[in-house]
């Protein structure tokens, strides 16, 4: 499992690790049922506090992405959880909110923004079906 930590980033370290593990699972680089490094191993490898890694694993287990088997380590959960789309949507919504507030600062009106969104929808390269949760990819 390759994880890269950017020092001095504004993104907290736990978030960096969490996002990358999620991305690896979404891209199916990590497949359902794969065992991932123990808290101790990953903490040592990344030179990151064990409590931070533990928090990440517990959070991802809470989301249904990972499965912590008592005394037997941590695995990628066998079934793709439905939260995947929700989490992606939430991220998208956050980014959209930021874009909108930037647009507002640029002086764009509500109508301007609506037009821009319509334009973007009209100019999509291909009209894709909404992706099913299991086929979401390219997150990396």
């Amino acid at each position: 499992m390759f994880i890269r930590i950017e020092k001095g980033s504004t993104v907290p370290i736990s978030r960096q690790i969490m996002d990358q593990i999620r991305a690896l699972c979404l891209a199916e680089t990590l497949k359902p049922g794969d065992q991932i490094p123990s808290v101790r191993q990953l903490a040592r490898e990344l030179a990151v506090n064990q409590n931070t890694i533990l928090r990440v694993y517990e959070r991802l287990a809470g989301e249904g992405m990972l499965e912590r088997r008592h005394g037997d380590g941590t695995y990628v959960a066998p079934h793709p959880p439905t939260w995947r789309m929700e989490s992606q949507r939430q991220k998208f919504t956050e980014e959209l909110n930021q874009l909108v507030s930037q647009g507002t600062l640029l002086g764009l009106t509500r109508d301007d923004l609506h037009l821009l969104v319509d334009d973007a929808l009209d100019h999509r390269p291909t009209a894709e079906q909404p992706a099913a949760p299991s086929s979401v990819s390219g997150a990396s």
Binding site: R44, Q50, S101, Q102
Partner: protein
């Protein structure tokens, strides 16, 4: 869970120059606290008091349940200490200094010391002055850990190490200290070295703790918010403004506990941008923030933001 380290309103002055002006904080068992501050902020004075080398002028210090100045032996037996550039007897070999140090500590574990020497690939028959910088720090770590201390105090130990050695040192800390459930008090200048390994950070500036909290929580709570000059004029909240500067028609405020500020701006439909900060920027805001209002032309109006900033 009673704290391993507890300081209550600790003051210390040297020749009538106050160095610590009422420092209070706790470190809980198993936690790693990054103790951050600029040079001369009072970090070394704090460490000297934790080790019982000097007493506070007022306030109380408890380390592992004891007053370190009154019960120095009790405390030092259970504390490991590692400083940058620890000068050791250069003519001794690695094996000799281990034998030399052991009798000072009733709990010295020869097997453990030998184990660390092997793991750290230290050459037992080599004289200390022939060791590399990295080997020296590792030897210091062996000496600080071989008596199985409950608390380890690190005084900028990684300062002289190159980036590769620092990473190795951090790995050693994680495996041998945090892995062993020890409490770590880590004083440092190297913000990005301690950020990944600290549970908590405490920022010391001019003799007081200006911020203390879980590392990621502090990062989450301190934000830079950019508003227009017009919107700035309409702010009437009593925020903790750490830094304030103006550029053209915009004002950038660095604010602690920013969630409330952001919610307020949103509730009043005041346009604003929120900028995340990294540890460097957060640190700078606390220890070197531009808290004056000289750059912001609002002298003609009552300025609650500036007032709250000045009062802080």
């Amino acid at each position: 869970m009673s704290p391993v380290i507890s300081l209550q309103a600790v003051k210390k002055a040297f020749q009538h120059q106050p160095v610590l002006k009422g420092v209070s904080f706790d470190v809980l068992p198993g936690q790693t606290l990054a103790f951050l501050g600029r040079n001369a902020a009072g970090k070394t004075t704090t460490i000297r008091m934790l080790l019982g080398l000097i007493p506070p002028d007022s306030g109380t210090i408890t380390v592992l349940g004891h007053d370190p100045f009154r019960q120095p032996v009790e405390v030092r037996r259970r504390v490991g200490y590692l400083a940058e550039d620890q000068t050791m007897f250069g003519w001794m070999t690695v094996a000799e200094i281990l034998r030399f140090m052991a009798p000072f500590y009733p709990t010295w574990d020869h097997a453990l010391a030998g184990e660390y020497v092997r793991q750290f690939e230290l050459p037992p028959a080599t004289k200390i002055r022939r060791l590399s910088k990295g080997q020296n720090v590792r030897l210091g770590l062996v000496l600080a850990l071989a008596h199985r201390p409950e608390l380890v105090i690190l005084d900028d130990p990684a300062l002289g190490l190159d980036p590769i050695m620092r990473r190795e040192f951090n790995r050693d800390l994680i495996s041998h200290l945090q892995g062993g459930g020890r409490t770590v008090f880590y004083s440092s200048h190297l913000l990005y070295e301690v950020e990944p390994i600290a549970d908590q950070i405490a920022i010391l500036d001019e003799g007081t703790i200006v911020r203390h909290g879980p590392t990621e929580q502090v990062l989450h709570e301190v934000k830079r918010i950019v508003v227009s000059l017009a919107a700035y004029g309409r702010l009437d909240e009593n925020w903790t403004v750490l830094d304030l500067r103006r550029s053209g028609d915009e004002v950038a405020l660095t604010i602690d506990h920013a969630d409330a500020a952001i919610a307020h701006l949103a509730a009043h439909a005041l346009p604003h941008r929120v900028i995340d900060l990294n540890l460097d920027e957060v640190f700078e805001a606390f220890v070197g923030g531009n808290k004056g209002v000289s750059g912001v032309a609002r002298a003609d109006t009552c300025d609650p933001v500036a007032v709250s900033a000045a009062v802080r």
